[in-house]
Point group: C2
Chain length 504, copies 2
């Protein structure tokens, strides 16, 4: 190809077929390909990928996997049959997160209504910034946010979908800071006093990440003590706030957690709200994991006091199975704080002379410009099963979790870290050779979660996470949430850990 | 439902069918639904939605649309036939961004390979933080980033996919700040001197949003002058940096633009690199829109000097048709700056006693925790058409754009704002009644882009954006990029604006 800028005379080069059989994108060939790919997705991901007779993961060492996938991108394209093999390979070697033996994270399972909504969102390729560009989804996002707020107990308020709970938590920090010091948006932190954030020692790491990113500094995240169950101790919060104030630092937000990542603990929101009111601090609830419990009349007491918060982060992509990413930030504010804090008045997008209500151009509330539609999948699933169906799923997960705990207690060598409050079950497995030797000096080092995890992954039978916590050595963290999971899977999990670790 | 916490004795309540016919999620019913939804998606979005005989948008006033969609979420679920009607309605009333007459934003069109990759990503529901959780995509993301870096001219470096170009730009700011003041992560901005960011007056609004969010302040974004074409003037940059320094403020980053949002201008990167080197400043290139030109041997001269940058934001979801969201931040750094800047050492995810190379746990580089897979769609499309196919698309878009300009110049009443350098064509349409009256005092107010836009939307024939810019009144901004678009569509666009505006 010649290295010259084409003159206008060159436009005749554009000859060739016009629609509908354009040479660069051919609809009928493309749709045939898409159809074939769809069949492979159903076969590999949704059938084999959810079959307990099949592996959760087909473990490969990185070098081997790279070779199998032939990842290199080249100048020439490839024929469709080769691409379909690639679709199958990608599916084959990926982790089956919808498999009934996937207990590794705070998401699992598949909901077909949500998945249909996700496919539709992808096909529409809508960018959610203005009513003009996204009429359906501007209205739908508002309605979904309204419905989530109602579950919190707020009949009015504001909100937005964010690319994940970490971002939602960071939005909350930025809003709290802006409410206290509106000039921070234009002038920055320079000249302001040192600011401080309060959160429990078991809160999500995004609070620290956010403090770093927002220019507040991770050292200015003050970690409040927790009780044995991992719940924030309000008295310690109150004391730490007073101490920080006495040092001339300005506290501006308390980030509580409803469902901690490791233990699934719920901070005592009502009592924390008292402390926040006393000190006039923004109360944020990171309910990324636990807020979905609000659907359950039986269990929503865990979040008592949440309606007193200023903001809530809630990830329906976790417990509700809406699919990644689906993360709402909800606000009690009705004064347009979110928009004032983030608006940048881009004239190419948010023209002021449009022929419709400019409040519908919700992109002004976001830090993002291009923003995916994350509400449709949740909306369609909610329409499909109703609030009552979502409640039933939450209740089922809680029951399954209790079943697991009950069975675990019957077995030798299994010890709970703490009686679970929610869907995270943290436990040690002590292999036979170590039982009764708890006094030995090398006892702790020998605990075997990483070794069992390695065997589990290489066998592909199951996935469960593990980790240490403060002075506690590695324990398993089992997360039970998918409605596709049965008591049989719970039994299998305990059996399998014994099988994998009994010779250690 | 009783408002009591279930005792362990209640686990027998969990009776009911086990897999494979679980009562809460039924695979065969679910897959039947998904199949039916898939057919509707193909029909409404990919067939009708790309047919020039069909509307780009079926405009409804918000109240009417809300009623048509019946958005309210209720306690009870709905049967599948009703849900399928909803799938069709959502598609019907959404903007058809793949329609050949959609010229409204910097994305358009559909690529079926990418779309297959997107469906597969959604079905797999992978969370991209560790090798354990996402073996295929950790390797794939690295390879895609490597291939993009090679086009910049970097044989090594770093990078990550972000949820949009705004986030990528904010990452660059955070990295530049961290490199200059590593203590900022832990201690925050308190005690540091005032920092300043330099960018052109026509750069994307995310630079200011980022300055607000990162605690730097929008007033500390120093806007550098542009020439008539919208390109940053390096001499003004140099002077402004010197001035700011003399006032005791510390400059730390220059955010250049390769392909501005409105005019599609390319800042002179080579000359800006000289200024950055002179002042030892981080050079970031916001190539969200324009970096894809690097695929074209013919046009990549527009980005001459990009290899001298420290970071590049590049959105393959725009010109390359990868689909929202697909946004890479690319770094020349090889010292692990990205990880050091963002790592938070969450022990539940990034255990240090894993059985594989911990460098594969790339989540430590991200500000997000849960992170969607954004690389597969680009990878699969790239495999399908090769770098040469992507080059051909870029070249075709440039040719079409030139054709449009050539035809526009032949017509009465159409005036270019500036000879376009790229794929954005900014132009005024002066209706017959106003022609020759450019001297009249009310001439400017009568320019008619918003009125034509309203008619266009309500007719549904086409979508083109408009906006003012500095002292220039509203003009149309046409963006041509989809390989599904033909010369006929270009002619239609000009004809249609005449039809809609000739009586004004």
């Amino acid at each position: 190809m010649a290295d010259v800028v084409p003159s206008i005379g060159l436009v005749e080069d554009l000859a060739g077929p016009q629609h509908p059989e354009d040479s660069l994108v051919n609809h009928s060939e493309g749709q045939f390909f898409l159809n074939e790919a769809f069949k492979i997705i159903v076969d590999e991901v949704l059938n084999k990928g959810t079959d307990v007779q099949q592996k959760v993961c087909d473990w490969k060492e990185p070098e081997e996997l790279a070779q199998l996938l032939d990842l290199e991108l080249r100048a020439a394209g490839e024929p469709h049959h080769r691409l379909l093999e690639r679709v199958r390979d990608v599916a084959k070697y990926s982790i089956k997160t919808s498999h009934p033996r996937f207990f590794n994270q705070q998401f699992a399972g598949v909901d077909y209504h949500s998945l249909a909504g996700r496919f539709l969102s992808e096909a529409l390729n809508t960018n959610l910034y203005t009513y003009e560009a996204a009429p359906v989804f501007v209205l739908m996002e508002n309605e979904v946010l309204r419905s989530l707020r109602l579950l919190i107990g707020w009949t009015e308020g504001d909100g937005i979908f964010c690319p994940g709970g970490s971002t939602s938590n960071m939005y909350a920090m930025n809003l709290a800071r802006f409410q206290l010091f509106p000039e921070v948006k234009s002038q920055g932190l320079c000249g302001l006093p040192r600011l401080a954030i309060f959160t429990s020692s078991q809160s999500h790491y995004s609070v620290k990440k956010g403090a770093g990113f927002l220019g507040i500094g991770t050292d200015n995240v003050i970690l409040v003590k927790v009780d044995d169950g991992g719940c924030m101790i309000p008295e310690d919060l109150d004391e730490k706030i007073a101490l920080v104030k006495s040092q001339g630092t300005v506290p501006f937000i308390v980030s509580c957690t409803a469902g901690t990542t490791v233990q699934g603990a719920f901070d005592p929101l009502d009592r924390i709200a008292d402390v926040c009111e006393k000190h006039k601090l923004w109360m944020h609830v990171d309910g990324a994991w636990g807020a979905s419990v609000l659907f359950s009349k039986q269990h929503r007491h865990l979040l008592k006091g949440i309606e007193r918060a200023n903001s809530v982060a809630w990830n329906p992509h976790k417990l509700l199975l809406a699919g990644l990413q689906c993360s709402a930030l909800l606000l009690r504010d009705c004064t347009g704080l979110l928009k004032r804090c983030h608006v940048a008045n881009a004239t190419y997008l948010f023209q002021q002379d449009k022929f419709y209500d400019l409040d519908l151009d919700i992109g002004n509330k976001s830090l993002q410009c291009s923003r995916k539609v994350d509400c449709l999948k949740l909306w369609l699933m909610w329409k499909a099963v109703g609030s009552s169906g979502l409640e039933e799923r939450v209740n089922k997960a809680c029951l399954l979790c209790r079943y697991f705990v009950q069975e675990l207690k019957k077995r030798k060598g299994f010890y709970l870290l703490h009686e679970p409050e929610f869907l995270n079950i943290c436990f040690w497995f002590i292999p036979p050779s170590l039982r009764g030797k708890e006094g030995n000096p090398d006892y702790q080092e020998k605990l075997v979660a990483p070794a069992i995890k390695e065997r589990m992954m290489k066998k592909g039978s199951m996935m469960v996470g593990y980790q240490p916590l403060e002075n506690k050595v590695n324990f398993f963290r089992m997360v039970v949430l998918s409605p596709l999971v049965s008591q049989e899977d719970m039994d299998f999990c305990l059996d399998e850990i014994e099988r994998l670790g009994n010779d250690m």
